[in-house]
């Protein structure tokens, strides 16, 4: 390899190095940051086990959850009749209908999230002692 070519290759490799380092530093893996920068903050809710940050989206739950999961892939997910739940390393995200065609987005830490979404994620993302009921059927007044 001639000297100018080698210098060019060295420059390219250094550039790739810098690119990787800067991308690594800039690439945010915080679902909290991602939700905060893309949805409207509504309020903070305090519960027994901690607090939830509540955001709103004008789009329905499945689309909103797909957007959130598309920006930062969750480790686990659950889709239920009442909403979509995404699990990240330290955070739980629940995307549920707001009753007006849009969505409410809850961002909880693990402790708060497990209790908050327990009927939907219990037994999937942890232990769950609430199962074992027999089939009761449908009809008015049979909601859990």
């Amino acid at each position: 390899m001639t000297l100018p070519r080698r210098a060019k290759a060295l420059r390219l490799a250094l550039l790739a190095c810098l690119l990787a380092l800067s991308a690594g530093g800039c690439a945010s893996a915080s679902v909290r940051d991602s939700v905060a920068s893309n949805y409207k903050f509504e309020r903070e809710e305090r519960g027994r086990d901690g607090r939830s940050l509540v955001y709103s989206s004008p789009r329905p739950p499945t689309r909103t959850a797909a957007e959130i999961g598309g920006r930062l892939s969750p480790g686990e997910r659950r889709v239920t009749q009442s909403g979509v739940f995404l699990r990240y390393a330290r955070d739980y995200v629940g995307v549920v209908p707001d009753g007006r065609g849009g969505s409410r987005i809850f961002v909880d830490d693990e402790r708060r999230g497990y209790g908050h979404f327990y009927p939907f994620i219990g037994g999937y993302w942890g232990s769950y002692s609430g199962r074992g009921e027999s089939f009761r059927g449908g009809g008015p007044g049979t909601r859990k």
Partner: protein, 248 residues
């Protein structure tokens, strides 16, 4: 024939030909099937839409049984009676396990059978992170539960029925129930390629530096030997072309 149409045909044929055939090793354990059927029954009570799941397994591998696993808002193990439902949406799945001698791979398909004007679609299910291939993997049970459980939500989003409101848990979680180990680093899951890129770049720089040092060392060691030899003889100068001079 399209993939959903094939899955639909497979499921219908299996239901017709194997009315009593249930899987020896079901995809869903009984408590899961009961809970899913109960959730669907609750959704039917709220939305006046019937829901169900029908998964046909064709196992040629000899390791399991073939058959149909079905359930609905009428109960676990009860296929949806479409004639008794004015509105319905059913998740249909077809799983095919091939024998070891076969050249073809295991395969799976999903479809949604519905008489709604704006039915849920497979594309919507896939946008939620699930696909037919999940029926072949370790989370086949959760895939069936979630893909079926999504139907009432998708039906509501299409405006075909009211939403089922999210009811927050008001009772404390039993002390024995705890979340399991988390899913691991979010950063690594999403940017796993960055460390590889960094390593490749660092390796490339290291390689070029080492190569540069080695060639410089070789160059400096060959320098004195070249200078100790006889000086190069000067190139003989070419006489000017007489024709060129004539034409000028």
């Amino acid at each position: 024939m399209s993939v959903p149409a094939r899955a639909l045909l497979l499921a219908v044929l299996a239901l017709l030909l194997l009315p009593g055939a249930s899987l020896a090793a079901p995809l869903l354990e009984e408590p899961d099937a009961v809970e899913l059927a109960q959730d669907l029954a609750d959704a039917t009570a709220e939305q006046q839409v019937c829901y169900g799941w029908e998964v046909t397994v064709d196992d040629q591998s000899g390791e399991g049984a073939s058959g149909v696993e079905a359930g609905s808002s009428a109960g676990p193990g009860v296929p949806l009676d479409r004639a008794s439902c004015p509105k319905y949406a059913v998740l249909q799945g077809g799983v095919s396990y091939t024998s070891e001698s076969s050249e073809s791979e295991d395969s799976a398909e999903i479809a949604i059978d519905s008489n709604l004007a704006r039915p849920p679609t497979v594309a919507q299910i896939e946008s939620l992170g699930y696909s037919a291939d999940d029926l072949l993997g370790d989370i086949d049970d959760q895939a069936v539960i979630d893909m079926t459980g999504a139907l009432p939500l998708l039906v509501a989003e299409a405006g075909e029925a009211p939403y089922i409101p999210f009811e927050e848990s008001t009772e404390p979680v039993p002390a024995s129930d705890q979340p399991n180990a988390g899913p691991g680093s979010d950063w690594l899951r999403n940017y796993w390629w960055l460390p590889l890129l960094g390593l490749a770049a660092v390796g490339g720089v290291g390689y070029l530096v080492v190569k540069g040092v080695m060639s410089r060392g070789a160059g400096s060691s060959s320098g004195p030997r070249a200078s100790s030899g006889p000086p190069p003889s000067p190139q003989p100068q070419r006489p000017p072309d007489p024709q060129q001079g004539a034409s000028a």
